[in-house]
Amino acid sequence: MSSKKVRGNPGLRRGVGSKTTDLDEIMEDPPAGDWLTLRSDQLLEWIDNAVYNVAETTGMREVVNRVTRPIFNYGQRFSPHPLHFGIMCCAIEMGQASAPDHDIDRLGLVYRSSPRQCDVLIVNGPVCEKLRPKLKTLYEQMPEPKWVIAMGECAISGGPYWDSYSVVAGADTFIPVDVYIPGCPVRPEALMHGFLTLQKKIREKEPGMFLRR
């Protein structure tokens, strides 16, 4: 489209992101003559906004969230799928955690190779300057409810390489970290305890998910 003419419903763009509670303004949103100019994605956006606004003003959102939040939270905390990604010696311990002695599959963990199918990013080793953009990309490729575990001293603060010219001083300098597991290297039991701590955190902190924003 070469023309810069704005298509669609101007009232729609006004509604985006605005948390209005005025009922008249909500009802004004679909103008009578403008229906045919809506594209399908705009229509979906309008439906999203209308449903959200109505649910917000009538208090339905709180009711729905009160039911759906525990159910969704149950699924999220009992099925963490970490990314199969190893940096250094803590990755060996991560593999040992899946072995018969410390069977981490009991907690429902399945290591997936693609970041699109993961919930948890385990940073297990020193992040050098060359790795940092790649790790940030991997974090950004993961779909939205996602958590990060910093495993070992190197991922927490740089560890023995704290004054090196090429090692980042901790994973939390560029991605938000949820759980820190100290140890050099981390024992498999400690990794399992880290996942249980993450469950505890998800149960306490995760907001309701049914209606967005």
């Binding site: 149950y74 699924g75 009992f78 069977d103 599959d105 907690l107 939205e144 409810p145």
Partner: protein, 409 residues
């Protein structure tokens, strides 16, 4: 009484309840009175009753398939864990207590030990709920239409399979005379979905995965159908019911039924290898080779789409085991006290258990190896099997008429 008769009775009862509702609504809302009247008139006819009965039958088949899907995934994870001397997922029913606490607003009690002391069948529930809440990512440079069409083709053609195979001669959602041909046609749609989603992801690993799926289709499809041709020739029909009756009718030593895997053991071996390639389980899971391609053709799919891909693969595995049971293992035939549906499921689960053992015991083969295996080894073997069956059906009876030979087959 067949499944359809039971569904017909249920439909009659439903219509008895529904018609007064529609008639009541006819007077209540004048603008909608006409459609309500039409629906009520239509439901009272034979066609309306039959349609509703089919609706019930297909839904029952779908629910049975989905129940089996959950059991198959659970069996796969637990047996895999036992093969590796582990215990597998152990999420217990006691973890639902936490859900109850959250729903009722009580203070949380942190007793994690009790969450992991069960059989772990709730793990599937947790995975499914999590997949619903995940974000659906469409990559910026992907072909958005095909990216959404690929999962639809793959999953719908897989779920379609559930309505096609009968659990017994009385328990069938659909009994077409060409039943097995329809099943194999539905099986062959899925590689198109794989190729579509692999190409539309605009990712080189997905692309290679989709191409491998197409190359694999070239190699296994011909020996698969040729090994099935022997069974069709012996039974003279594509109908699953006729095939199973033929296997039960032909007898062996001591009057035992001669199921098809005894005279056609070459065809049985070829069919088991090819159906394993058809459902893309481990020795032939080239399209999603985790060590070479990241996740193969599912690399760019997130959330519920990925989870439905996974579910559809297990549905295909279940349907493939069911086809193998009908063709070679005598279907639902078995001794009396156990009902035939249970016999059928027992045989299907036996094959699935065998496949799980294979999955965790053998390495993956290469693309050129599967082409060599398909064209140079399985294709001649399936032709030999077809020759044996032709000898059994056509030539040997001809000579028994001329010379006095015993009737073996």
């Amino acid at each position: 009484m067949t499944l359809f008769d039971a569904c017909r009775i249920m439909a009659e009862w439903t219509v008895k309840v529904l018609i007064p509702v529609f008639e009541f609504q006819e007077g209540l809302f004048p603008p909608f009175s006409n459609p309500a009247g039409w629906v009520a008139d239509w439901l009272a006819t034979e066609g309306g009753l039959d349609t509703m009965a089919w609706f019930y039958a297909v839904n029952i088949a779908f629910m049975i398939g989905m129940t089996n899907l959950i059991l198959v995934i659970h069996l796969e994870r637990k047996v895999a864990a036992r093969i590796q001397d582990r215990r597998g997922p152990m999420l217990s029913f006691r973890s639902l207590r936490e859900l109850g606490e959250d729903l009722s607003g009580q203070a949380p009690s942190w007793k994690f030990k009790k969450n992991y002391s069960g059989i772990g069948i709730l793990q599937n529930l947790a995975d499914g709920i999590k997949a619903i809440t995940k974000e659906l990512i469409v990559p910026a440079k992907a072909d958005k239409f095909l990216f959404t069409m690929g999962p639809i083709i793959f999953i719908s053609s897989s779920v379609f399979l559930l309505a096609l195979f009968p659990l017994s001669d009385r328990f069938a959602a659909s009994s077409a005379p060409a039943g097995l041909m329809v099943i194999m046609a539905a099986f062959s749609i899925a590689p198109i979905g794989v190729l579509t989603s692999g190409w539309a992801s605009n990712n080189k690993y997905s692309m290679i995965g989709g191409m491998r799926s197409a190359a694999q289709l070239m190699s296994y499809e011909i020996p698969l159908l040729l090994s099935m041709a022997g069974v069709f020739l012996l039974a003279g029909s594509f109908d699953p019911v006729v095939i199973v009756e033929q296997q039960q009718a032909s007898t062996w030593f001591f009057g035992l039924p001669m199921w098809n895997f005894i005279p056609q053991f070459i065809g049985f071996a070829v069919f088991m290898i090819c159906i394993l390639a058809e459902v893309e389980r481990v020795p032939f899971d080239l399209p999603e080779a985790e060590a070479e391609l990241v996740e193969g053709w599912t690399t760019e799919y997130s959330g519920i789409r990925y989870m439905l891909f996974l579910a559809a693969e297990y549905i295909r595995g279940f349907a493939g085991a069911a086809v193998a049971t009908i063709l070679f293992l005598g279907g639902w035939a078995g001794p009396w006290p156990v009902p035939p549906e249970i016999w059928f499921l027992l045989k299907v689960y036996l094959i699935l258990l065998f496949w799980i053992f294979i999955r965790w015991s053998v390495p993956r083969i290469r693309t050129d190896q599967i082409l060599v295996l398909g064209w140079k080894k399985l294709l001649p073997l399936s032709l030999i099997n077809l020759l044996i069956v032709i000898f059994m059906v056509e030539i040997y009876p001809y000579f028994t008429e001329i010379v006095n030979l015993p009737e073996v087959f």
